[in-house]
C-alpha cells in the first residue's frame, strides 16, 4: 500500500470519527447544493410565484374591461384593482411590484387600430424590481395582442395572428426532463466546493496536533503528505457527488444522461477542486485563516463561474472572465454529460481544463509548503 493511500485512509478515518466535521464535509454541501438547485430551477416543476401588480381602471369601456379580465386571468400575474393613488403607494411601499393603468380612451383606440388608434397603458414599476419590468411588459403586450385578435376576428374572421413554436435545442433524446436536471450541475459544483473547503483545514490540523513534525521526520515527503490529503478530499468529493446523485435521481426525477461521461465529468471536477484544496490548505497557519481563504477563493470562483448567478444574466466582460473559473468548466462538463449529449471529443476540453487546474493547484501547494517549512 503506498504511503499516499495510507495517509488518505487515515484522513478519511479521522473524518468518519469527527461527526461534526463529517456534517460540514458531507451533509452541508448537500444542503448547499439543494438550496442553490431549488433557487435556480424550482423543485417540483417550473411554477413561479405570480407577479403581484395593481390595476388602475381609468377607462370603463367594454374593451378595457375585457383587457383587465384577461390580465387577471393570467397565471403569471396576481392582479388587484386599485385607485391610482393607492396603487402608487402599494408599489412605493414594495407591496406590489408594479401598477398598470388603463388610460382613458383605451377601448376607443383599440377599436380604431386600423385608423391609427393607439391604446394607452401606463406602467409604474418598483425600482427594485426593474429586472421584472421587461417580463411584465411582455405579458401586457401578449394580453393586448390577444385583445386585438378578438377585435379583428369580428371584423375579418379569417385573420390570424403570428404563431411562435418553441423547440428546445439539444441532442436527440437528451432534453432535460426536469428543471433540476438543468440546475443539477451547479448543485454538484456547490457540493464539491463545500467538500473541498471543509477539507482545506486538515493540513493545519496536522500542525496544531503536532503530528506534522512526526510525519516530516518519517520517510514521507511533503508532496506525499499533500497528495494524501488530496486523495482523501477526492474520495470525499466523489462520495458527496454520489449522495447528491442518488437523492436527485430518487427524489427529483433527474436522469443520469450518459453515465460514462457523467463519471468522467465528476472525476474531473473532483480532481480540480481537490487540487485547488491542496493549494488553499497551505495559505495560512491557523484553521481560521485557511478556512477564510478557502471560502473566499471558492465563493469567488462560484460567483464568476455561474454558480451563483447564471452566466446568461452576466454582462459580456463577466462571461469572458468566467473562463478562468473551474466552476464554469465543471458546469459545462456536467451539463454535457447529463442533458446536452456531449460526445467524448466535446467533453475533452472542459475535462482537460479541470484536470490542468487540479494539477496546478497540487504543484503550487507543494511549492508553498516547502517555502512555509523553511
Amino acid at each position: 500500500m503506498s504511503r499516499i493511500v495510507i495517509l488518505a485512509l487515515k484522513d478519511l478515518r479521522l473524518l468518519w470519527r469527527d461527526r461534526f466535521g463529517l456534517f460540514w464535509i458531507l451533509v452541508f454541501p448537500l444542503v448547499f447544493a439543494l438550496f442553490f438547485g431549488s433557487i435556480f430551477g424550482g423543485i417540483g416543476g417550473a411554477r413561479r410565484t405570480p407577479l403581484k401588480i395593481a390595476v388602475v381602471q381609468e377607462d370603463e369601456s367594454d374593451a378595457a374591461r375585457a383587457y383587465v379580465e384577461r390580465i387577471a386571468a393570467s397565471p403569471a400575474l396576481q392582479a388587484l384593482a386599485m385607485e391610482r393613488e393607492a396603487a402608487w403607494e402599494a408599489v412605493r411601499r414594495g407591496n406590489r411590484s408594479a401598477f398598470v393603468a388603463i388610460r382613458p380612451g383605451f377601448g376607443e383606440a383599440l377599436g380604431r387600430l386600423l385608423e391609427g388608434g393607439a391604446p394607452a397603458l401606463e406602467l409604474g414599476i418598483d425600482p427594485a424590481r426593474t429586472a421584472e419590468a421587461g417580463y411584465l411588459q411582455g405579458l401586457l403586450v401578449e394580453s393586448l395582442f390577444a385583445s386585438m385578435q378578438d377585435r379583428f376576428r369580428t371584423v375579418a374572421p379569417g385573420l390570424r395572428g403570428p404563431e411562435v413554436t418553441v423547440t428546445p435545442v439539444s441532442s436527440a433524446g437528451s432534453r432535460p426532463h426536469s428543471p433540476f436536471e438543468i440546475t443539477f450541475p451547479s448543485a454538484i459544483q456547490w457540493a464539491l466546493l463545500g467538500c473541498a473547503a471543509g477539507f482545506a483545514i486538515s493540513l493545519v490540523r496536522e500542525r496544531t496536533a503536532g503530528t506534522w513534525l512526526r510525519l516530516r521526520s518519517g520517510p514521507v515527503t511533503r508532496a506525499e503528505i499533500l497528495a494524501g490529503k488530496g486523495l482523501a478530499c477526492y474520495c470525499a468529493c466523489i462520495v458527496v457527488a454520489l449522495l447528491l446523485l442518488m437523492f436527485a435521481v430518487a427524489a427529483l426525477g433527474v436522469r443520469l444522461g450518459n453515465p460514462a461521461m457523467l463519471a468522467l465529468a465528476l472525476a474531473s471536477s473532483a480532481a480540480c477542486f481537490s487540487g485547488i484544496m491542496m493549494m488553499v490548505c497551505v495559505l495560512g497557519k491557523t484553521e481560521q485563516s485557511v478556512a477564510g481563504a478557502g471560502w473566499a477563493i471558492f465563493t469567488l470562483m462560484a460567483m464568476i463561474g455561474g454558480g451563483m448567478v447564471p452566466l446568461i444574466a452576466m454582462p459580456a466582460w463577466m462571461i469572458t472572465l468566467s473562463n478562468i473559473s473551474p466552476v464554469k468548466w465543471g458546469i459545462v462538463a456536467l451539463e454535457g454529460a447529463i442533458w446536452r449529449g456531449f460526445a467524448l471529443s466535446e467533453m475533452a476540453l472542459p475535462c482537460a481544463i479541470l484536470w490542468a487546474i487540479g494539477l496546478t493547484g497540487f504543484g503550487a501547494g507543494v511549492r508553498l509548503l516547502a517555502r512555509a517549512d523553511r
Partner: protein, 297 residues
Amino acid sequence: MIRAESLRKSYDGLTAVDGASFEIRPGETFGLLGPNGAGKTTTIHMLVGALQPDAGSIEVAGAPDPSRAEVRRAIGLAPQALSLYAELTGEENLLFFARLHGLRGARLRDRVDWALGFAGLREKARQRVGAYSGGMQRRLNLACALVHEPRVLFLDEPTAGVDPQSRIHLFANIEALAREGRTILYTTHYMEEAERLCDRVAIMDRGRILDCDTVPALLARHGGRAVIEAELAELPTEGAVLPGRIDGKILRVETERPLEDLAQVASAGAKLSSLHLHRPDLETVFLALTGRSLRDG
C-alpha cells in the same frame, strides 16, 4: 552516529541556534540540558530534517542529509508536543505510523503489540487517545517513535507535564532502550533526568553549547566543592579546631573531602542538631557557566 557542526538557525532575526557543535557515539545516551528557549528543540528539528539549518553541517546515521528515506527509517522522534491523532485509538495510531515506515503483515502486528506492551497500554489499545490520561499519551507518544525499531532516538522533553508515576515508567523505558544499545539524544531542562539517564551531557543556553562531557567531568570542571552545613546544638569549647567557618550556630564547610571533615567535626566534640551535605550538581554547573539558574529560563 550523530554529528552536528556549527549549526545555526534564526527565526525573524532571532537566533535560536548559534554555532552548536557536538558528536554522539553509537549506543550513547546524550543529553541536551538547558532552560526553555535554549535552542534544544530547534536543534532536534534540524537533526531530523524537519528544519533546514541556516549554516553548519549534520550527519545522522552515517548520512549527511537527514531527509533521505534511509535515514528517516533509522530514526524515531518523540516530539515535545504530543503528536498523536486524538480521534484514533492507541492501536490505530501505532498501526498508522508503523505502516508509514513500511512495516507489513506479521512484523507489523508484532511491532505494534510490542509497542503497546512497552507503553503499558495493551488493555487500552482500542480506546481513543483523546480519552487517555496525560501520562498514557506521553507513553504512547514515545511508543510511536519506537514502533519501527529505529537505531537512533530523538526524545524531546519526553517527561514534560507527566505525573511522577508515569515519569518513573518513562525512565524505566528509556533505560531499557539504552541497554538495548540504541543511540539516544535526550533534551530536558531537568538536571535530575540528565544526571540519571545520560552518558554525556551538553549544556546549552541561548543557542550555544557551553560545555559537553560526562556528568562527573562537568561537575569536576564547573561544580566547585561540596558544602557541609551543620547547625550546632552547643558551641564548641575553646581550643577545639573545626574546619570551615561558624556564623552564629551554623557551621559551613566547603570541602573536597566531606567525610574527612565530618570526622574532624565529630572528634572535636561538636554536638550537631542538624546536618546537610550539598554536593555540586548540574544546576551548579549551569549556574557557574551562565550566572543564571536553569529554572530562570
